[in-house]
């Protein structure tokens, strides 16, 4: 399969971080072209000219510009929005993104995420198509079904709240379902939980 190049816009104030991303993905084997930008209107402009397919955004920069950001997303539905997270953000803010990269993720996992996103036209990786949730994602799913909050899930599974959010994001991505009630039906259909358990 030939690998077309993927254009990525990076909206990130720190040069160190930008160079870091650039360095990591240059080693991924997939051809990426990075465009650094410093305003949302510039992103909009690039998008209008079809200059990129994927955007890596530091959520701090859209924190008070939710509306503007949402309207760009609406106008350019094909673009994948990836949050680059290195401090705590509100769940609502992060839920505006399609994917999440944590600053502590390994180079391999970052390259893999980006390559997966860009190597499939439908923006779904092979793994996603098989809809297989990882064991950890299933643990998180079971907690979601029981109605626990992100904080509670983090405590129960002994993981950080970021990790919970990123698992949730991936679960929704893979299943196509966001709501607790919807995920419950998913879990029953896929025999992840038994109906009797749910009723109890």
């Amino acid at each position: 399969m030939n690998k077309p190049s993927t254009n990525i816009v990076v909206f990130e104030p720190s040069l160190i971080v930008f160079e870091g991303i650039s360095n990591i993905i240059s080693k991924s084997g997939h051809h990426f072209h990075l465009i650094r930008t410093d305003s949302l209107s510039e992103i909009q402009n690039h998008a209008a000219h079809g200059r990129f397919d994927l955007a890596i955004v530091n959520p701090t920069l859209i924190q008070n510009k939710n509306k503007e950001f949402a309207s760009i997303q609406k106008n350019f539905p094909a673009i994948i929005w990836v949050a680059l997270v290195y401090n705590f953000f509100d769940h609502n803010l992060l839920s505006q993104f399609d994917r999440i990269i944590n600053i502590t993720d390994s180079a391999e996992s970052i390259s893999k995420q980006l390559t997966n996103i860009s190597s499939n036209e439908n923006h779904l990786s092979l793994e996603d198509e098989q809809e297989l949730l990882s064991d950890r994602e299933i643990d998180v799913l079971k907690q979601i079904i029981k109605g626990f909050s992100n904080k509670e899930i983090a405590d129960h599974l002994n993981i950080s709240i970021h990790t919970v959010i990123s698992h949730r994001k991936n679960i929704s991505q893979k299943t196509g379902i966001k709501s607790q009630a919807g995920l419950t039906i998913y879990a029953i259909s896929n025999k992840i939980i038994l109906l009797e358990d749910y009723k109890n």
């Binding site: 609406k74 379902i177 009630a181 919807g182 259909s189």
Partner: protein, 238 residues
């Protein structure tokens, strides 16, 4: 975001009948704007003139149905508000009294053909969802539209009457919730819940959900990118 159909970019001199044959969803637009269906050989321009509707507004919404987002610059004024509100109210009626009941009745048939626990849960999910939608529609009918109407008649600011305040944020929160649960339903029926001799009815449900989604989508774009900016423009000029 999904669009059921993408047609041509609509212009005033195009013939309305050809446009409707190309994208029959435009009939919904005409219905919501209370335009007669017998269009003879009229062009968009002629139809709008005959029905007393601003051509720019008609074209803007018709192009939304054809898959084109509105541009930032819209030449709409307060005179268009009444027509926009009429459109939105009629589409509420379409959701509440036509589309949701249609899906509800399909779900009942599905339940007969596939009497599984999951389908029962889907019905329950749908009913809860429908109740949320109704709440939102009623909220708009009760709070938002009367506010806009008052604004239109220059009655805001008078002290005699207290209006329940409406909030743009509340609007948007409701919208994204409504869209996301509809998506869940589609995903469950298409991707997850096992089929048991129910393909035909399931196809009807999924198709119906997509039609509803398309119309809801247009509905919220009209509210968020056409109506609300227009309202704030009027509020500022008062």
């Amino acid at each position: 975001m999904s669009n059921l159909s993408k047609g041509n970019y609509i212009k005033p001199e195009m013939k309305i009948s050809s446009l409707v044959f190309e994208n029959p969803n435009l009939l919904l637009l005409m219905e919501h704007l209370e335009i007669d269906f017998i269009v003879h050989e009229k062009t968009v321009k002629q139809l709008c003139a005959a029905s007393n509707i601003n051509e720019d507004l008609f074209i803007l919404i018709a192009n939304l149905y054809n898959g084109f987002q509105p541009t930032e610059q819209q030449n709409l004024t307060r005179d268009d508000m009444a027509a926009i509100i009429k459109f939105l109210k009629n589409s509420h009626n379409y959701y509440e009294n036509e589309k949701y009941p249609e899906i509800r009745s399909y779900l009942e048939q599905l339940q007969i053909q596939n009497n599984s626990a999951e389908i029962k849960l889907i019905e329950k999910f749908f009913d809860e969802y429908f109740n949320e939608v109704k709440e939102h529609l009623h909220y708009e009918n009760r709070v938002a539209f009367p506010y806009f109407n008052k604004l239109l008649k220059n009655e805001i600011g008078g002290k005699e009457e207290k209006l329940e305040p409406y909030s743009v944020n509340e609007y948007q929160e409701h919208h994204s919730d409504i869209e996301s649960k509809l998506n869940d339903l589609k995903a469950l029926l298409l991707k997850h819940v096992p089929v048991e001799n129910d393909r035909v009815i399931r196809r009807k449900i999924i198709k119906c959900l997509c039609e509803l989604e398309n119309d809801l989508n247009i509905h919220s774009i009209i509210e968020e990118t056409i109506l609300i900016p227009l309202v704030s423009q009027i509020e500022c000029s008062e």
